[in-house]
């Protein structure tokens, strides 16, 4: 029996689900090994009977919490898809201000109190609301990694996600280090798995795959010193994708 897979989305740009359409002909291979029973962005059919729930987006409203809890109850395995789901990502930038203040700045005073659609609290990643079994990182996700995770789960295996920094993949590509070009790159503290795609195209890593659990902080400090940069600047760079988690000492 093929495992039944359902896709769900919360607050996000839906770009990670789009990467599945971007697998092109390989989508056909994918539906050979799993049964897609719900995927609102591309199909009309829907079923609540599924084994694996794949969730994109951050949680921002009470109505999202109850929907997510239902999904967690229905699913045997829950996978967080993309930075909004795995770490909160860009959506967490606004957590530096109280929700009420952001709402007021946005809507002004238009009398939306009690309107459930507008009832936003501070952004949460999925695992701040329900337990998550597996993570597919990135903004957007890496299509190859997505294939690896789905294939592993369909085979009943544990997917392997890198626990070393982006610098490892960047070195393998023989790129010139972007610090040498005067750019501030978060590669040294960020989880690999993207193939160092941004530095390879001349743009610094922004940390979208999340900060490593245990970055080699001594090496990081050494790099900062060599290029006359400070730990405070590093923390400030982290505030794009990893707001509230930028302390890595």
């Amino acid at each position: 029996m093929k495992p039944k897979v359902a896709f769900f989305d919360f607050s996000s740009c839906e770009g990670c689900q789009l990467q599945i359409a971007n697998l092109e002909e390989e989508v056909l291979d994918l539906i050979d090994i799993v049964d897609v029973v719900s995927f609102r962005e591309v199909m009309k059919e829907h079923s609540d009977d599924y084994d694996i729930a794949i969730i994109e987006g951050s949680i921002m409203r009470p109505m999202d919490v109850s929907r997510l809890k239902k999904i967690r109850n229905n699913a045997k395995i829950l996978v967080a898809l993309g930075a909004c789901a795995t770490i909160g990502g860009i959506n967490k930038i606004r957590n530096q201000w109280p929700s009420e203040e952001v709402k007021k700045e946005v809507y002004g005073d238009v009398g939306l109190e009690g309107n459930k659609y507008f009832d936003a609290f501070q952004t949460k990643a999925i695992d701040e609301v329900v337990p998550v079994d597996y993570y597919i990182h990135g903004c957007p996700i890496n299509r190859d990694e997505f294939k690896h995770v789905i294939t592993s789960l369909a085979l009943g295996k544990k997917p392997i996600i890198p626990s070393y920094p982006v610098c490892v993949e960047c070195k393998k590509k023989e790129n010139v280090c972007l610090f040498e070009e005067g750019k501030f790159c978060l590669g040294p503290i960020t989880r690999a798995g993207c193939g160092a795609i941004c530095p390879t195209h001349g743009s610094p890593c922004e940390g979208c795959r999340g900060i490593l659990k245990k970055p080699e902080i001594e090496c990081v400090m050494e790099i900062l010193e060599r290029y006359d940069l400070t730990y405070e600047e590093l923390k400030s760079k982290c505030k794009m994708y990893n707001y509230g988690m930028e302390e890595c000492k």
Binding site: E14, G15, L18
Partner: protein, 434 residues
């Protein structure tokens, strides 16, 4: 006309984002008819406060997964306008390739994956696998792949581009890669014509419905305007004063929608492929004009369902236009240029581009340290919500005697015809009151 109907389609499928259609009819009279947006608001403009000018592009790219290249380009144009940056001609050419690639990717996704299932009477593209339409499906997949490969090549990545930076590019493809791309585009042109014939054979499945409205988009004397041009309306003509875009795009909040609505001279207006076609069809390349003729599409066309066909026409135009620019680059030669040097200064900048779903505005005010102090974005889908609502109000009485299932399908098809991008439209901020 004395029946009761209760329709509540929660989370319309095969559209980007969360929207609901609610229709209550009592004794043949419409009591409630709403196109609701229930997507969570995302507060993007608030998030841009105090961000460095180099971060505005990567952050706003994340407003939308499908039109991230368009948001990136609007963002760069606004930032560059504020800082007084003058880009090279070469940057303009590569950015036009980027915008063509995204338009192609988005249009083929919409026409091929999201709209075609309705025409063929299935719930998604999945049942087409192994059916008599498998060959058509594979052609659509091939065109989708081509569009994405082109974005990857020009922008470093399809979704959330990497190479687009303030004042230019962080890396460029090689001449050899461009030549290979050109060959694939030429092949893609033939494939598109084959797909167009299949769609032609089922075109009668589009509902026959017209409603006169206003169309707004960019227009230019030089080209079919996508990257650059003046704001124009089918009602009021050209408006070159781009910094005063708010005079044309008047946004307001409605309680049943987390996305804003907009209007200009009438109750609503439409933006997107059909609007651009209605404004600029004489600037289309030859092959695109042929496809328009195949479907007898002529300006001004007031049938919102024909937006699907206008997208197909634009797809062909984007391929032809890309081939033209690649030829220019290869004939004249090109080298990687470092981004233009930036001198920080205080100021406001406005960037306007056409993205797949219509005209998009980013508006930033920077302080003298290059930090953003104020931001506003006007999103295509927001500009269409009121027009969708008005279309529904006129469409429902015409189909009210059909079976409930058919009314539902027709209303869903109407929403899908606009190809709404709801994540985009709930990016939120800066409200103008009605």
């Amino acid at each position: 006309m004395s029946k009761d109907i209760d329709i509540c389609i929660e989370h319309v499928t095969r559209v980007e984002g969360h929207g609901n259609i609610v229709l209550n009819v009592k004794k043949g009279k419409i009591e409630k008819l709403e196109w609701q947006i229930s997507e969570a608001p995302r507060f993007f403009e608030a998030m841009l406060r105090d961000r460095d000018y180099t971060e505005l592009r990567p952050i706003t790219s994340r407003i939308c997964g499908i039109c991230s290249i368009g948001h990136s380009l609007a963002s760069l144009k606004a930032t560059e306008d504020a800082l007084g940056v003058k880009n090279t001609e070469q940057t303009g050419i590569f950015r036009r390739l980027a915008i063509n690639a995204e338009n192609m990717q988005s249009h083929i996704l919409h026409v091929g994956y999201l709209a075609v299932p309705d025409l063929l009477g299935v719930g998604s593209v999945f049942p087409l696998v192994g059916s008599k339409h498998q060959e058509t499906l594979l052609k659509i997949v091939k065109l989708h792949r081509l569009s994405n490969e082109m974005s990857d090549l020009i922008c470093g990545r399809t979704t959330h581009p990497i190479t687009l930076v303030v004042g230019g590019f962080s890396s460029l493809p090689s001449k050899k890669q461009l030549l290979t791309l050109k060959e694939k585009l030429e092949d893609g042109l033939k494939t598109t014509q084959e797909v167009a014939k299949v769609i032609k054979s089922v075109e009668n499945n589009f509902p026959d419905f017209t409603r006169e409205t206003e169309y707004i988009g960019l227009t230019s004397d030089q080209e079919y305007a996508l990257y650059d041009g003046d704001i124009a309306s089918t009602d009021t003509g050209r408006h070159p004063d781009y910094k005063n875009y708010r005079k044309i795009m008047q946004e307001y909040v409605v309680p049943f929608s987390t996305a804003k609505h907009a209007k200009h001279k009438r109750d609503s207006y439409m933006v997107g492929a059909l609007a651009r076609f209605n404004l600029n069809s004489n600037k289309l390349h030859t092959g695109a004009k042929k496809v328009a003729n195949l479907f007898n599409l002529k300006p001004i066309n007031y049938n919102p369902f024909m937006n699907n066909i206008a997208q197909l026409v634009e797809f062909v135009h984007n391929i032809e236009d890309s081939i033209k620019w690649i030829d220019t680059l290869l004939d004249e030669g090109f080298e990687y240029e470092k981004p233009v040097d930036i001198k920080l200064k205080e100021g406001r900048g406005v960037g306007i581009v056409e993205v797949p779903r219509g005209i998009l505005v980013h508006d930033y005010t920077l302080n003298k340290k290059g930090k953003c102090v104020k931001a506003n974005c006007i999103i295509p889908t927001n500009q269409n919500h009121a027009n969708i609502q008005k279309d529904m109000e006129e469409f429902v009485p015409k189909i009210i005697n059909k079976p409930k299932k058919e009314i539902e399908l027709n209303l869903e098809m109407l929403v899908r015809a606009y190809d709404p991008c709801i994540s985009c439209s709930t990016h939120y901020l800066n409200v103008i009151f009605k």
